[in-house]
């Protein structure tokens, strides 16, 4: 199973952390920092597996014998995507999974960049929950993930619209900007005369 998913940028700022195995609170901040320190010193041609004497992953053991935890990472532009997995996951398979996740983000955000992760982190979480649930891989096909993510996003938008009938934009508008919304909205209630 997958123990944790982390995303941080090349300066070390953490953009997303998701722990599927209970982790002691003291490690919640120190683990991403440690992994960043080890990963940032690695040149680009090296392998995608992080294995260093300083890395202590005892919290992830879960009492299962012979369980070796691996840290798999991939660098995309300014972001590092780090997956901490147990030995039941295939190492090369997880590399593919990271690629699938990034592609799903790309589909949902239309040319995703780091700002999208900063301002729409909840969307990122929802997309991640379509790929991995509770530490186990749910879906590996980018099409299916995109469909499911879009459906959930639509449900959220309609719910927001029904709660805020006067709203200008949708909650956490995925990839849309306000100008295009302004073109679409109906201003007749305004132009048809103000009421006191």
């Amino acid at each position: 199973m997958i123990h944790a998913v982390m995303i941080f940028n090349t300066a070390g700022a953490v953009r997303l952390t998701k722990f599927y195995t209970p982790i002691p609170h003291s490690l919640r901040t120190s683990l991403p920092k440690l992994i960043f320190k080890l990963v940032s010193t690695r040149a680009s041609g090296l392998c995608n597996f992080l294995d260093a004497p300083e890395l202590q992953l005892n919290w992830a053991k879960n009492g299962v014998e012979g369980d070796e935890t691996r840290v798999v990472y991939r660098c995309y532009a300014t972001l590092y995507f780090v997956f901490v997995v147990s030995s039941e996951e295939s190492e090369l398979g997880i590399l593919d999974l990271v690629q699938v996740f990034v592609e799903s983000l790309d589909r949902a955000f239309e040319n995703v960049c780091e700002l999208d992760l900063v301002f729409h982190f909840d969307e990122v979480h929802y997309i991640l929950s379509e790929v991995i649930q509770g530490g186990l891989v749910l879906e590996t096909n980018v099409e299916e993930i995109a469909v499911a993510a879009k459906e959930a996003s639509k449900a959220r938008k309609t719910s927001y619209a029904s709660a805020h009938p006067l709203s200008l934009g949708s909650v956490g508008g995925v990839g849309k900007n306000v100008e295009s919304l302004a073109k679409n909205m109906n201003l007749s209630w305004f132009t048809s005369g103000l009421r006191r």
Partner: protein
């Protein structure tokens, strides 16, 4: 975020989906098993799972997978079962994965759920089957015997499916099952051999090879050719420029070394090259493999290679060439890449591995102990990590247990001491000096020049050492001088008196320097030694005078005090004793170790006077708040 848990639950129970998912996300991120409000979520989740809206069910199942506890598992187990037969495949997949998590917490759920999982293996949707296989793969790690029942279904899937991800999981599953059912091996060998030779997907190929190794599939006639094929494929990965393939090849080769060392030994050159790789991860794995692969013939070569690894390279980045600096400036990369061999934890790891490789199985691999002792000394010079204690322990272990090497050891250690006390940057291995001093003291009969060694031990440079080491320096110096003195008596000649007196005076001078040391142990030993030397000095003086005055032929014709110190440390030689030796001592007749010497009843009873307050057992009262709050929330809606 525990202060906000109640508010999170409030938001979770909102009727609006966009708020509800926000609440679920907050719950997944912040709840753990100690969160008090978890019991409030039970009904909420039940309601959401029964709702008609698919996104709501999805979100509820996802959140449940995160916040699951044994209580929640017990309460919601029955509600999950209908979800497994939901019309949408996505819901079925999510339900399967949640069910797996419940099975870990609750034994009832385990029994009931297992049958359901078996049904799901025959689901029409490929994704659902894949999820079921995933859950079973995880389950097989904890309950392999139970999963054996499903072997026929899984075998069917293995031979018919083409979904790579699922095939990988099935292959891994079988790897966990074969140790418990040897007959599976024969059935699995053909399809796995087939997959290994034909599949284009490297991930699947690797998993098949790994399963063959871990599952012990190399039995029978086809087994050995299968082993050879597997090792060949792994060696091909190892020679591949892709670093990832090198890494996983090393991972798998480690597993096959115990059973087929000869196959791996063919590729030793490749492995040694990987140890010097730029990539720290590959180095670590290569070291793992190397220490597993080592045997009597290869040990010396491997250890020399590792030692040369540790020898100092250019210690700082300022020594990098102008070309390197220029290229870094151009590419704008400000990364200060430290050569991996210089990081302290790595050096410690390498040093430990060297020690471990040599001392494994009671030094089974070491043929030449003299070589090993010189390796230990080299390691203490080269390592520059705090491994002195372990080196010291190894050294003493070898010296005390291997008699034949003692002569060499003492000569080596004397030279080590003469080469000087540690300087400022090599203070990591001071404990080795402890070993040096003790060896010279204990086996001082092997010393070439005892006086020289003793005066080195007591010399000026020693004052910089830590007190524990100084203490052993004192006692070793005493043993050496005692031995030297008693040796003089073998062929005592009157001419030697003056020299002897001079040496004793010099020793007294050196020792008195330590007698006012601030460390108590050193002070005590130095003072005791000093007094013995004073006694010797007085006796020598008296002897000199006595000789001149009387010419008695009674008694020994050398100063008796020369024999003073030596018996203190040399009367009995302590032999090494095996741990089972005590059990072999025969029990004497009539000895009873089980009855109490002082009968129990005679002992004073524990205090129970009338004045002492007695503890009243208080039953823990249930929190009254839950009774008040309960009815409010049981209906599932707020306000």
């Amino acid at each position: 975020m525990s202060w906000a848990s109640f508010h999170v639950v409030e938001v979770m129970s909102s009727p609006y989906f966009h708020l509800k998912t926000g609440g679920y996300l907050a719950a997944a991120q912040s709840f753990d098993e100690n969160t008090d409000v978890l019991m409030l979520t039970t009904n909420l989740l039940k309601k959401d799972m029964a709702s008609g809206s698919h996104p709501e069910i999805s979100a509820a199942l996802n959140c449940l997978a995160h916040i699951l506890t044994p209580e929640l598992a017990r309460d919601l187990a029955l509600d999950i079962i209908p979800m497994l037969n939901h019309s949408r495949p996505l819901i079925r997949k999510r339900a399967i994965l949640v069910l797996y998590k419940m099975m870990l917490f609750d034994l009832d759920a385990l029994d009931r759920g297992f049958n359901k999982l078996r049904e799901k293996l025959e689901d029409p949707d490929v994704g659902v089957v894949s999820a079921a296989v995933n859950a079973l793969c995880e389950l097989s790690r904890r309950e392999p015997e139970r999963c054996l029942v499903l072997a026929p279904y899984l075998f069917n899937l293995l031979t018919n499916s083409s979904n790579n991800w699922m095939l990988i999981k099935i292959v891994k599953l079988f790897g966990a099952l074969t140790p418990y059912e040897p007959r599976l091996v024969r059935k699995l060998q053909p399809p796995l051999t087939d997959l290994i030779s034909t599949t284009p997907a490297i991930s699947l190929l690797y998993e098949c090879v790994r399963t063959c190794i871990i599952g012990g599939m190399f039995q029978g006639s086809s087994g050995s050719s299968l082993a050879r094929t597997c090792v060949q494929k792994l060696a091909a990965f190892l020679g591949n420029p892709d670093q990832n393939l090198k890494y996983i090849a090393l991972l798998a080769l480690v597993k096959i070394v115990p059973s087929h060392p000869h196959l791996v030994a063919e590729h030793q050159r490749l492995v040694l090259a990987s140890v010097s790789d730029n990539d720290m991860s590959i180095r670590m794995r290569a070291l793992d493999l190397l220490s597993a692969m080592v045997n009597r013939q290869t040990l010396q070569h491997v250890v020399q290679h590792l030692l040369s690894h540790l020898s100092p390279e250019s210690p700082s980045g300022t020594n990098q060439s102008a070309a390197q600096a220029l290229s870094q400036a151009i590419s704008g990369v400000a990364v200060s890449v430290m050569p991996p061999s210089l990081s302290a934890p790595y050096r410690l790891d390498v040093a430990r591995r060297i020690l471990d490789m040599c001392s494994r199985d009671h030094y089974d691999n070491v043929e030449d102990f003299e070589w090993y002792l010189s390796v230990l000394v080299d390691l203490s010079y080269v390592a520059r990590v705090p491994i002195g204690e372990e080196i010291r322990d190894q050294f003493l272990d070898v010296v005390t247990r291997v008699r034949s090497v003692r002569l060499f050891a003492v000569r080596l250690m004397a030279k080590f001491l003469h080469d000087g006390a540690p300087d400022a940057d090599n203070e990591d291995c001071v404990e080795v000096y402890w070993a040096a001093a003790w060896t010279c003291g204990e086996y001082c009969s092997n010393l070439l020049d005892p006086l020289e060694t003793a005066s080195k031990l007591l010399g000026e440079e020693s004052t910089r050492l830590p007190p524990t080491i100084l203490a052993i320096y004192m006692s070793s110096a005493m043993k050496i001088i005692g031995h030297w003195a008693s040796n003089l008596t073998v062929e005592w000649d009157e001419i030697q008196l003056v020299d002897t007196q001079q040496n004793v005076n010099r020793a007294i001078l050196q020792v008195s320097g330590f007698a006012d040391s601030p460390h108590l142990e050193v002070q005590e030993r130095a003072a005791a030694f000093g007094q013995l030397l004073q006694f010797m000095k007085a006796d020598l003086a008296a002897y000199g005078q006595g000789r001149a005055s009387t010419a008695s032929s009674e008694g020994p014709n050398f100063p008796k005090s020369l024999q003073l110190i030596h018996p203190l440390s040399s009367t009995f030689e302590l032999n090494v004793v095996a741990p089972e030796a005590q059990d072999k001592v025969r029990f004497p007749e009539g000895l009873d170790l089980d009855t109490d010497i002082v009968p129990v009843a005679v002992r004073a009873p524990p205090e129970l006077t009338g004045n002492a307050p007695t503890k009243v057992k208080r039953r823990k009262k249930k929190d009254p708040m839950t009774h008040l709050v309960g009815p409010f929330f049981w209906s599932g809606s707020l306000w």
